[in-house]
């Protein structure tokens, strides 16, 4: 069985794993905006208002700073930046668990549209997403992993009407534009549907992660506009999922970073037994071990972003590695954060729970670590028994 087994793909020869000056400038802009308008306490208050996302914050982030158009080429109305810059935005959004549809709209929906070619049907919705005027989502369940064609729950009739139900779509209630992968009469296809159109219903569910709302979408003869068919449709969806999964690692890094920093801060200040609890070695070692995991998650997330940005053939490996690694790190960091805060970590007022909920739901999003490990096994020639 060893003959003909594929060998691990070559890693990109000289990946740049650091941050450029431009990326740091972008980070500073996003961070200061989030510090003003997206502090965890504000997030908490906004969540209780019942709005699906913080529209004021979204407008400032997407339109004023222009992050929504990072992945869109300039000639199509965007900023022509790359996955590296979008990753930096996601790190900051993870660090503040801001309830904005950045990952779903500016990353996944944008990438799906970009994969549909540059026909006229694509340019207008892309420009609207890039400008932050419209929120768009790809109508697939949040746990859908890249790499394997998803089971399509929506059927398209020859006249372009759609029927079916897609569950647990992230940011569905915020979206005006739904990109719907559907089983057409001659294979897979991707349709654009207005969320407000007749025959579309969005039922919100109560999500574990309040900062990333979920909705079930029901299509009952809704009219769709065909964007792509066949291999092109399939490839566009897969690239969107791959990009989403790869950049989700940066969000997870941001979540973990905040959790570690807050835990260090708290334990250095909180006194028990006459000394700061952070001077107890049992706690120090846990935080030091976490620091190492966070530092490692940063390298993994940066490599995934760089591989996506340079369209490296190693991108599927880079994304699988980053997803298999970063999800569990974020969860552990959030769990340690709650534990090492003691009683206050269990309260609703303290923001730790927002990070725990985000971390746990991120771990399932776009493929669980186990799914990504399995995908990796096939990619690098470590076959199942």
């Amino acid at each position: 069985m060893t003959d003909g087994t594929p060998r691990p793909g070559a890693p990109a020869p000289d990946p740049d794993l650091l941050y450029s000056e431009d990326e740091e400038a972008l980070r500073a802009a996003v961070r200061s905006l989030l510090a003003d308008r997206g502090a965890p306490a504000t997030v908490l208050a906004a969540l209780e208002s019942g709005a699906p996302h913080d529209t004021g914050l979204w407008r400032a982030l997407a339109t004023d700073i222009g992050t929504a158009g990072l992945l869109v080429p300039e000639k199509l109305g965007g900023h022509g930046a790359s996955a590296r810059e979008a990753a930096v935005v996601l790190e900051e959004l993870g660090r503040s668990v801001a309830p904005v549809p950045y990952l779903t709209s500016a990353v996944i929906a944008v990438t799906a549209l970009l994969g549909c070619g540059d026909g006229a049907g694509v340019a207008a919705p892309l420009a609207a997403l890039a400008a932050g005027r419209t929120v768009g989502v790809l109508a697939l369940p949040l746990p859908t992993a890249p790499g394997t064609p998803p089971d399509l729950a929506v059927r398209a009739a020859a006249d372009g009407t759609l029927t079916g139900r897609v569950t647990s779509v992230a940011d569905a209630a915020s979206a005006a534009l739904l990109l719907v992968p559907a089983e057409g009469t001659d294979g897979p296809a991707l349709y654009a549907v207005e969320a407000a159109a007749e025959g579309v219903r969005t039922d919100t569910v109560t999500p574990l992660d309040l900062t990333r709302p979920l909705g079930h979408l029901t299509f009952d003869g809704a009219r769709g506009r065909l964007l792509a068919t066949g291999d092109r449709a399939r490839a566009a969806v897969d690239r969107a999922l791959l990009t989403g999964a790869g950049l989700l690692a940066s969000e997870q890094l941001g979540v973990a970073e905040w959790c570690l920093a807050e835990t260090v801060r708290h334990t250095a200040e909180r006194t028990q037994f006459g000394r700061p609890v952070g001077s107890f070695q049992a706690l120090k070692h846990r935080m030091a071990a976490l620091w190492l995991e966070v530092a490692s998650a940063r390298a993994a997330a940066r490599y995934a972003a760089d591989a996506l940005a340079s369209d490296s053939p190693d991108a599927p490996v880079a994304v699988a590695v980053a997803q298999a690694y970063c999800g569990p790190v974020a969860v552990r960091a959030a769990e340690e954060c709650v534990q090492l805060h003691g009683g206050i970590g269990m309260t609703w007022e303290h923001p730790a729970h927002l990070f725990l909920k985000r971390a746990k739901s991120d771990e399932l999003a776009l493929g669980s670590p186990g799914r990504h490990r399995d995908a990796l096994g096939a990619l690098v020639g470590i076959d199942a028994p």
């Binding site: 060893t2 260090v264 030091a288 940063r298 028994p385």
Partner: protein, 431 residues
């Protein structure tokens, strides 16, 4: 600044002047050192070109492709990883000139006389004494009167009075092969422990140095006990000021942590590569549980590789990192401890996985013969050896517990442990 193209040109010139096919190994290595292509980030005249550390890989790749001999870094790891950066930082010009070239070419092997039976993790508690030599041993140009000098070999660095050293060191890797040792000893017992230490270079061929093999868990004697009895060390072999040895030792220790586990490896390099090959070669032994665990380890090994790569990029002023405010070429910081922690854990987990995967073959061992090996061979021997030797990775060069303390206090800034020994003279410490 020297760039990759310049280095390629210089490497080509070296290969033309000294074709590997017709040049002796040592001659080639010496010529390479003199061309500044040994460790390019070292200063000119000392085997380097003041170039960014990251560019070493350019030279290495060209030389490997040309079939040039290497300097056997596995065998001379202590010299390369620990002695050299310390000599570079604290040595006099004469010391650098005397020691660095034969160190790099492997003509002279180095060892590290730090640990003692009573001072391991608490290294600053060491008891080996160095007292001023009343007779001024070897301060004269002819060197120690009672020692036999091998034909033509010089002594080291001369002059400046001397010291007499007495004590015992332990777990000294490669002491049986070493020509020189970096040594820390107590020169003032009346001040707190960190302040009364000085740092020396000890000639392992001197009278009074006795090396006894210490057999270890793997069956072989890779490390030793070293007894120092009236060993005379010239003052010119001191690195750093008298009483400042702890500061000098910090440089050694920081570099040690990077040297262990900090080397640049390709994807699936090292132990994970061996484990993956085992998996591919033995389909009959596969189980679902072992598959899941191997993939988890594969991911962790790849992430550790990327983390090391990122750390290197931060330490090397490539164009990108300088633009991003990266540190110039320099000494590794406490972050290096993180790499060693990850390396030790992975080496242990992967080798443990491998023994388990091999089933019946995992129950056998290749060779228990007592030997005194030249170095550690992590991929050349069987899984059982790897499993046992890897246990040392979380002990040597600072235990994982101690490294976690370092990360917690110096990287994360967590409050220090309360201490009872800080302001007490070493001689008054409870023992």
């Amino acid at each position: 600044m020297t760039d990759a193209a310049d280095l390629r040109r210089r490497t080509a010139a070296l290969l033309t002047a000294h074709p590997p096919a017709t040049t002796g190994r040592l001659d080639f290595l010496r010529a390479r050192f003199d061309a500044g292509l040994a460790w390019v980030h070292f200063p000119e005249g000392l085997g380097g070109l003041d170039a960014p550390r990251s560019l070493q890989s350019v030279v290495d790749a060209e030389l490997t492709a040309a079939g040039a001999p290497d300097n056997d870094p596995g065998r001379i790891g202590i010299g390369l990883g620990m002695a050299a950066p310390t000599i570079l930082r604290f040595g006099s010009e004469e010391q650098k000139q005397r020691w660095l070239r034969p160190l790099w070419t492997g003509e002279e092997v180095w060892c590290q006389l730090f640990s003692e039976p009573g001072a391991g993790s608490d290294l600053a508690a060491l008891a080996t004494r160095a007292v001023r030599d009343a007779e001024g041993a070897r301060s004269d140009a002819e060197g120690g009167g009672d020692r036999v000098v091998e034909g033509g070999r010089d002594q080291g660095v001369e002059g400046g009075g001397g010291w007499v050293v007495d004590g015992q060191k332990v777990w000294t890797s490669s002491a049986h092969l070493a020509r020189w040792a970096i040594l820390i000893a107590r020169t003032d017992p009346s001040v707190p422990k960190h302040r009364g230490i000085s740092y020396f270079v000890c000639d392992m061929t001197d009278p009074g140095v006795e090396v006894r093999p210490l057999r270890q868990i793997t069956g072989e004697a890779e490390f030793n006990e070293v007894f120092l009895t009236g060993v005379r060390i010239p003052d010119a072999h001191r690195l750093g000021e008298v009483g400042e040895g702890w500061k000098v030792a910090q440089t050694t220790l920081m570099n040690e942590r990077v040297a262990i586990g900090g080397s640049r490896i390709p994807r699936e390099g090292g132990m994970i590569g061996v484990a993956a090959e085992d998996w591919r070669a033995r389909p009959a032994l596969r189980t679902h549980d072992l598959h899941q665990r191997l993939l988890t380890l594969w991911v962790e090994a790849e992430v550790a590789r990327l983390t090391g790569e990122r750390l290197r990029q931060q330490l090397s002023p490539t164009l990108n990192s300088v633009r991003a405010g990266g540190a110039p070429t320099g000494q590794p910081g406490p972050e290096g401890s993180g790499m060693k922690l990850a390396f030790a854990r992975l080496a242990q987990e992967i080798s443990g996985w491998e023994v388990e995967f091999l089933a019946e073959d995992g129950l056998t061992y290749d060779d228990w013969t007592m030997r005194r090996p030249d170095g550690v061979d992590f991929t050349g021997r069987e899984a059982g050896y790897r499993y046992l030797r890897a246990k040392g990775n979380s002990i040597e060069g600072g235990t994982s517990e101690v490294l976690l303390n370092i990360v917690a206090e110096r990287v994360l800034g967590l409050p220090p442990e309360p201490r009872t020994d800080k302001d007490v003279a070493w001689k008054d410490l409870p023992r």
